[in-house]
């Protein structure tokens, strides 16, 4: 019940905002100051009590057979102040279920944006990262078709922001536009592991992408890497569970400190009239023994009929196990990062009112019993890798 109270409060606050008769339309950008927001009220359940299902691995606990608002509900607020034509300051705060099992609001981004030329934009401060296409709007449910970004593609991306800078340039080439972006900064955040947290703050991240847009087509290739500053907290997890710490040999073998992980991705989006289609592929190359390298992707298509957009999708992820564990304990931790599953999903988005959408979705996850990385609280002896997820969301912007 205690877990529901903040959600309920958020829900009432959101409804009040959405239903307020004289709310300003999205982005009355003619004033120098703008205040805008987004949110989602989400309910979801699965058909298994053997694992807990999360939206991405930034969440320490997930959901099982009971309907729960835990994983998808979010409220975000953005204040933007354009104090000169080329200069803008933006602060965005969000409240969602996060690494410490609370909905504590946090400053998601806070930056200054300077556009020295119409097609050149420079930002500095706390910034969202675009490791993959659309990764920096993952929580803005109203902006996309599905109830949540396909998990097989996005689960392994718990990075949300950096303290750093980025530069983006758009080059019009006749009717098409080429866009390039690069970013560098120190990561900011924590990733939960059992009851412990892996502090990734201070880990340097570097990345960029090249994007080509022509009419309804957008294609993007991107690359990013992170060099971890610290080891995963395996030792304290083991201490709590079994009463002894990690051996020196295992600790050395599983070390992530000063290792670099590389992220590659390719995306193609087609968006024309009632049609929307996306194909995304990624490859994650882990530079350590604790986490497995993986390949993932998804295909999504939707067709709008009036206020309704039915959609269908398929996603997959497969990671590569390392056979060289020095001990049974190390092997146990390494198994935890294995993923091998495919998901078929189908749903409907209903744009029933201005700036509000209702979505319902089914996910059929069909994987191997060894596919543990995406989940929490796994019961390894019973989990068979297969379950269905049912989700309902109400997404809005204001």
């Amino acid at each position: 019940m205690a877990r529901w109270r903040p959600i309920l409060t958020t829900l009432i606050a959101c409804l009040a905002l959405v239903l307020m008769p004289a709310r300003p339309a999205v982005a009355e950008a003619d004033s120098a100051f703008s205040l805008q927001g987004f949110g989602t009220l989400g309910l979801a359940r699965t058909t298994s009590d053997d694992v807990e299902y999360v939206r991405d691995i930034s969440q320490p606990r997930g959901i099982d057979k009971d309907w729960d608002a835990l994983i998808d509900s979010v409220l975000g607020l953005q204040a933007a102040w354009r104090f000169m034509p080329q200069l803008e300051a933006v602060v965005q705060a969000t409240s969602r279920y996060r690494y410490d099992k609370t909905f504590t609001p946090e400053i998601a981004w806070a930056y200054v944006k300077y556009d020295p030329l119409p097609n050149l934009s420079l930002r500095a401060g706390r910034l969202g990262t675009e490791f993959f296409m659309m990764a920096d709007s993952r929580w803005v449910g109203y902006s996309f078709l599905t109830v949540r970004p396909p998990g097989d593609y996005f689960w392994y991306l718990p990075f949300y922001s950096i303290h750093g800078a980025d530069a983006a340039i758009s080059l019009p080439m006749g009717e098409s536009v080429l866009r390039a972006k690069a970013f560098y900064g120190l990561s900011n955040g924590k990733i939960p592991l059992a009851d412990e947290q892996w502090d990734i703050s201070g880990s340097p991240m570097l990345g960029g992408y090249l994007e080509y847009q022509f009419g309804p087509w957008t294609a993007r290739a991107s690359y990013a890497n992170i060099r971890f500053e610290r080891d995963l907290p395996f030792s304290p997890v083991l201490m709590k569970a079994r009463g002894f710490p990690l051996s020196a040999q295992d600790a050395r073998f599983l070390s992530t400190r000063d290792t670099r992980t590389h992220y590659y991705s390719l995306g193609v989006v087609y968006d024309s009239g009632p049609w929307q289609a996306q194909l995304m592929l990624n490859h994650i190359d882990q530079g350590n023994n604790a986490l497995e390298s993986s390949d993932g992707g998804y295909l999504l298509g939707g067709y709008r009929i009036g206020e309704f957009t039915p959609y269908l999708g398929y996603s997959w992820v497969l990671s590569k196990s390392r056979p060289n564990a020095p001990s049974a304990v190390a092997a146990y931790f390494m198994q935890d990062s294995h993923a091998d599953q495919q998901t078929t999903f189908a749903g409907m988005r209903w744009d029933f009112a201005r700036n509000v959408a209702f979505k319902a979705q089914w996910d059929g996850i069909r994987g191997e019993a060894s596919s543990l990385f995406p989940y929490r609280q796994d019961n390894r002896t019973r989990w068979d890798g297969k379950m269905d997820v049912f989700s309902l969301t109400l997404d809005f912007v204001f």
Partner: protein, 145 residues
Amino acid sequence: MSIRRPILRCAMFCLLILSAAQAWAEIVVVVNARCGVAAMTRNEVINIFFGRNRQYFNGVEAQPVDLTDANPERARFYSLLVGKDLSEINAYWSRQVFSGRAQPPVKVGSAEEVIKWVVSHPGGIGFVDLSKADARVRVVYELAP
């Protein structure tokens, strides 16, 4: 009474024709007559109204202006330009805004204000019914229904 009825009918008929003509009127994209742009293609118009490109071919900064949802021309413009509903346009901009990439074009309340904006900004660009376009602006693209 018997005289009034045909007059009433005629008036209603005229109103119908008028409103039909209004609904089928062409929407045109207009720019500030001094910005140096004579014509644009559909994709060039899309690139500017969706914030992908902020410059005309000659380097002048494009300053697009949009209409509020209360104007039926807004829904017709995006429907004719990209075949999208306003909910999809708003979803597109919510992604740009909340990812911190860009703010949408300024919105004004009427066609007269669109013309006023276009005339008063060197790179102004907007859309209006063909009948509202006057000599102060230049038509660079026509959206036939």
